[in-house]
């Protein structure tokens, strides 16, 4: 199934592990670029490049405060990805619920068999 181009951008943006690290750091709150550079242990140009990609797909927002550039997560943009995984999760949940029923039956059967054996 082909994805819509805009969604593909967000998906591609989070496919890069470093960019996911950035999103994880920003999940705790707004951060200046320098903070991210220190936390990630990357060179500033690399961090800026990743931030640019994330900004282009709307996953982060930036604002200027004095001489600092502060980055913040736009959680709403992660929703398509969240929904994507959730659907997969739902199909597994349906399987596991069927397993729950089966396991209850197996437990009852074992219990009964134990009782008969005594």
């Amino acid at each position: 199934m082909a994805r819509a181009p805009t969604t593909t951008d967000a998906f591609n943006a989070v496919a890069e592990p470093r960019r996911r690290d950035i999103l994880n750091l920003l999940a705790d709150g707004e951060r200046p670029v320098n903070d991210l550079v220190v936390e990630l242990g990357l060179a500033q140009p690399q961090v800026s490049k990743h931030l640019r990609v994330l900004r282009e797909v709307g996953l982060v927002e930036v604002r200027e405060e004095g001489r600092q550039r502060l980055y913040r997560l736009q959680g709403r943009q992660l929703k398509p990805i969240h929904d994507w995984v959730k659907r997969f999760e739902r199909s597994w949940n349906e399987r596991f619920e069927a397993m729950d029923e089966l396991l209850e039956e197996l437990k009852r059967k074992e219990h009964r068999d134990d009782g008969n054996g005594e």
Binding site: M1, F11, A15, P17, W84, V85, K86, R87, F88, E89, R90, S91, W92, N93, E94, R95, F96, E97, A98, M99, D100, E101, L102, L103, E104, L106, K107, E110, H111
Partner: protein, 162 residues
């Protein structure tokens, strides 16, 4: 004796670009979960859930042995998977390959572990693909059905409006 039938919900995470991790807890000892997981007659009872009927559940439970599951969805769509067992530790761990027959290039390596604590079992499934495209397609394979459910629902609503 009564026990909670529902033990919570599955948690799906994507630990890396090529992996899927699924975890779920069951209110049963691991020997029973392992039996439900590996016995053909029992697999037929849960693998398709309510989405269809399991038509094939072949299990040759030995290292190098092959497995194949197939189901027919209510909408008449056949879904089949097969693979080979690589490592088996009874009631503990199963490592096997998995190929979705709709996408034969995308062979994954699945590691299933069964961990028991206080009579409950935590099941962990780690799916490792070689490429991100395959991992992504794997996640989307679950959606074809979901989409079909949605379309069926639309159809029902449409019929009720006639």
């Amino acid at each position: 004796m009564t026990a909670m039938a529902s033990s919570g919900t599955a948690v799906v995470t994507l630990p890396s670009d090529t992996e899927i991790l699924i975890t779920r807890e069951f209110a049963a000892p691991k020997a029973l979960v392992y039996r439900a997981w590996t016995t053909p007659e029992l697999i037929k009872r849960w693998w398709s859930a309510k989405r269809g009927t399991v038509t094939v559940a072949e299990v040759d439970l030995r290292v190098g042995g092959r497995w194949r599951y197939a189901m027919m969805t209510h909408s008449g769509f056949e879904v089949a998977f097969h693979g080979e067992y690589r490592e088996l530790i009874e009631n503990e761990r199963i490592v096997s390959t998995e190929v979705y027959e709709g996408m034969p290039d995308g062979e994954a390596l699945n590691t299933v572990t069964f961990a028991e604590a206080a009579g409950r079992t935590k099941l962990t499934i780690l799916v490792q693909h070689a490429k991100r495209e395959h991992r992504d397609a794997h996640i989307e394979s679950g959606m074809e059905d979901g989409l079909q459910d949605a379309l069926d629902l639309v159809e029902q609503v449409a019929i009720s409006l006639v």
